[in-house]
């Protein structure tokens, strides 16, 4: 995409801006949809209807809310550390959005073809931690501080099992580039990594159970990394009011929410790419059958978003079903269960790959 635009315009800045604008647009539209979806999903799970008045089944509700939020007064409490307080939401959103640079939406739409894509994503999403800590510290509020401390401890801890599972997938694929990992799982769904990868040998059968374990571990730890129930302890509204963004109002608060939903998609996209073929269609492309080659990237974009949103839906489903864990129990789950299992899984997958 970038190369194509660069050849077209001959300008680095224009080509770069357009390349970045496409994921941003997709992300904003997705966030509008996801917030509406969350409301409807929660409502229907709870025997309610959810928003019904604004548009068909309330689909305009998020847009109306956004307009309201932009109009709201931007309240900054008098005792906050203003600089940090203002930077924090931007930093959190930057961290989540920057991850999309290395995520391939389709074979033609990839922000940056970095060879170390997955490594870059793990690194850049840690920026969110700094933003959260800034928000909690600068708010000068005890609830915010407690929320930020919990959040940082949680995100950093859960990065370890995530990284271990990612590592095992990297060993299997032999590359750090998410685009290449997607390309390997091409054609049909039995080539997906969750079913043992593209190679049709007896190792496929051997890998299958460990892939399932890996998938479960990475899904649980990404849930914790994006602070969703049952791990939504940093923003546990019944304990800490709203956690680290208690003091935020108006659009700054909106940016935090946007970052949360962007993060949900980012981790879902990574999981989908590692285990479920990324943008690859499960059963061939309509474009290839009809002989319309230009249709294929769009189909890939559709499959990518569809897979991402299915995982986002599961996150919502869990949120509206389960209670939340306590801080110490959360750490127990991570250090006593996920990390050892992920480590063993990593070793076994390594041995199978060597065979």
């Amino acid at each position: 995409m970038y190369q194509f635009l660069y050849n077209l315009t001959g300008n680095v800045i224009i080509a770069g801006t357009i390349t970045a604008a496409v994921p941003l647009t997709v992300l904003l539209l997705y966030a509008l949809f996801a917030i509406w979806l969350e409301r409807k999903v929660s409502a229907h799970m709870q025997d309610r209807l959810g928003p019904m008045r604004t548009g068909w089944h309330g689909w305009l509700q998020t847009i109306a809310d956004m307009i309201k939020m932009i109009q709201k007064e931007d309240i900054t409490a008098s005792d906050v550390d203003k600089k940090l307080f203002n930077i924090a939401p931007v930093l959190v959103f930057t961290g989540s959005f920057a991850a999309f640079a290395a995520i391939p939406f389709s074979s033609r739409l990839l922000g940056s073809e970095v060879e170390v894509g997955i490594f870059y994503i793990l690194a850049i999403s840690s920026l969110v931690v700094a933003g959260i800590l800034m928000a909690g510290w600068s708010s000068n509020n005890k609830y915010s501080l407690l929320g930020a401390m919990r959040s940082v401890a949680q995100i950093i801890s859960y990065e370890i099992p995530t990284a271990l599972v990612v590592l095992s997938m990297v060993m299997l694929s032999g590359t750090l580039s998410l685009d290449k990992i997607s390309q390997m799982q091409t054609a049909y769904f039995w080539n997906w990594n969750i079913l043992g990868g593209p190679a049709f040998t007896w190792t496929k059968l051997l890998l299958f159970p460990f892939m399932i374990v890996g998938f479960i571990i990475i899904y649980i730890s990404t849930l914790a990394e994006v602070n969703r129930t049952p791990f939504d302890i940093p923003e546990a509204e019944s304990e800490l009011v709203a956690g680290y963004f208690t003091e935020y109002a108006g659009m700054k608060w909106g940016i935090f929410m946007l970052a949360e939903y962007a993060n949900m998609l980012a981790v879902s996209a990574v999981v989908a790419t590692l285990f479920f073929g990324g943008y690859q269609s499960p059963f061939g492309y309509l474009g290839n059958t009809l002989g319309l080659a230009w249709l294929v990237p769009f189909e890939q974009g559709f499959w990518f978003l569809a897979k991402g949103i299915i995982f986002v839906f599961v996150q919502m489903w869990l949120r509206w079903t389960l209670p939340r864990l306590r801080v110490d129990q959360l750490m127990t789950v991570c250090w006593k269960y996920l990390i050892p299992y992920a480590l063993v899984n990593l070793i076994i997958i390594g041995i199978i790959t060597l065979l």
Partner: protein, 371 residues
């Protein structure tokens, strides 16, 4: 060099999502560990007892509604019994049966809120709304009977404000048939959920002697394993005619007297309330519900004390009459107020997140704590 450490004071409330009203908790914390809890009350004080001294006896009934606003029927009930004791009147059988049915329906409705909010505090949002859906059906029954959904002013001294609707027995039976399976549903969704058990079992253990020393009553006391229930141990009205069990905490998930036990006692009590209603609903005799209401209530000089088993515990009314149309003094023993005192004892050594689980499990209503 020794690191300078200090405890932090965290104000929880009066405007906090989980203090169940306007309760302010002053938490002294070390990191997230609780060192001390001081509850500050009085944000909802409305001078009920002082007001009662200037009101005639029937005028006080609506005021009692507003104490434990989740169990208004029970509040009316206790007050009516106390004044009837002063007057020395006996109410018709029909009134007694309807009163018991209403009180038991109210108990279920109140426990539904208690269980739902306890789950909500721990992060389970969905069961809360399921329970409110069921409570709605009980409120509809009340609305059909007396027109009000929250503050009923239904049980009057010597009678009732309205007779029941002809459809009431049929709809109540329908409700019982509908509600029994939903208790199982609740157990599957929340009670035996692994995360819920992790959060509540072995948390906030209330030992028997502490419970008795603090005067804890109701489900919070029974959660500690003591089968004390006024409906059986000091029967009032016609409770001695019904067959029901007293639910006690057995420590199924953890230790006896933990948050989970207090929660589960309420679940079991709803079942027993259904049993009582089932027995009573078919035996309501014919009659007039207002025949025994005195024209002018002017009790003789003297005192009376009546206590009833409210959903939250033992609710007592002590009324002193000096022979006038208004009482000389009305003293209320509110279960929420007494049960709240034990909070500090329960929270010590736990984490901030446990405070709300414990507070939810002792189930207070600030309207009654402050009166």
């Amino acid at each position: 060099m020794a690191l300078k450490t200090d405890t932090m004071i965290l104000n929880m409330g009066p405007q906090h999502p989980s203090t169940h009203g306007v309760l302010r908790l002053e938490l002294e914390i070390e990191g997230e560990l609780i060192r001390n809890v001081t509850p500050h009350i009085g944000y909802l004080h409305r001078c009920f007892e002082k007001h009662a001294e200037a009101m005639t006896y029937p005028q006080i009934v609506p005021y009692t509604d507003r104490m434990d606003y989740l169990a208004s029927m029970g509040n009316n009930f206790g007050y009516a019994i106390a004044v009837e004791k002063l007057l020395g009147i006996k109410v018709p059988e029909r009134v007694e049966y309807i009163r018991v049915i209403m009180a038991e329906l109210q108990r279920i409705a109140s426990h539904l809120v208690a269980l739902g909010t306890n789950g909500l505090d721990i992060g389970a949002f969905t069961p809360f709304l399921y329970l409110f859906r069921d409570r709605e059906k009980i409120l509809s029954l009340f609305e059909m009977t007396c027109g009000a959904r929250l503050l009923y002013n239904y049980i009057w001294v010597g009678g009732l404000s309205h007779d029941i609707h002809p459809d009431f027995p049929r709809l109540t039976k329908e409700f019982i048939n509908y509600f029994r399976p939903t208790i199982t549903e609740l157990n599957n969704l929340l009670t035996f959920n692994k995360i819920f058990i992790e959060r509540t079992a072995n948390i906030g253990i209330l030992p028997v002697d502490t419970a008795i020393n603090y005067g804890v009553s109701g489900p919070s006391l029974r959660g500690s394993g003591i089968a004390f229930d006024l409906r059986r141990d000091d029967p009032y009205s016609i409770y001695d005619r019904f067959d029901f069990d007293i639910a006690v905490g057995k420590g199924i998930a953890g230790t006896v007297g933990d948050c989970w036990d207090r929660y589960y006692v309420r679940v079991l009590e709803m079942e027993q309330s259904l049993r009582i209603i089932e027995q009573a609903i078919d035996r309501i005799p014919e009659g007039d519900v207002q025949s025994a209401i005195p024209k002018r209530i002017k009790p003789p000089k003297g005192t009376a004390y009546a206590r009833v088993e409210n959903p939250r515990g033992e609710l007592g009314y002590f009324i002193i009459s000096n022979g006038g149309v208004t009482p000389f003094r009305v003293k209320v023993r509110g279960p929420s107020f007494v049960n709240l005192e034990v909070l500090g004892e329960l929270c010590k050594g736990h984490l901030v997140a446990d405070v709300i689980a414990i507070l939810g499990s002792i189930d207070i209503v600030l309207g009654e704590v402050d009166r």
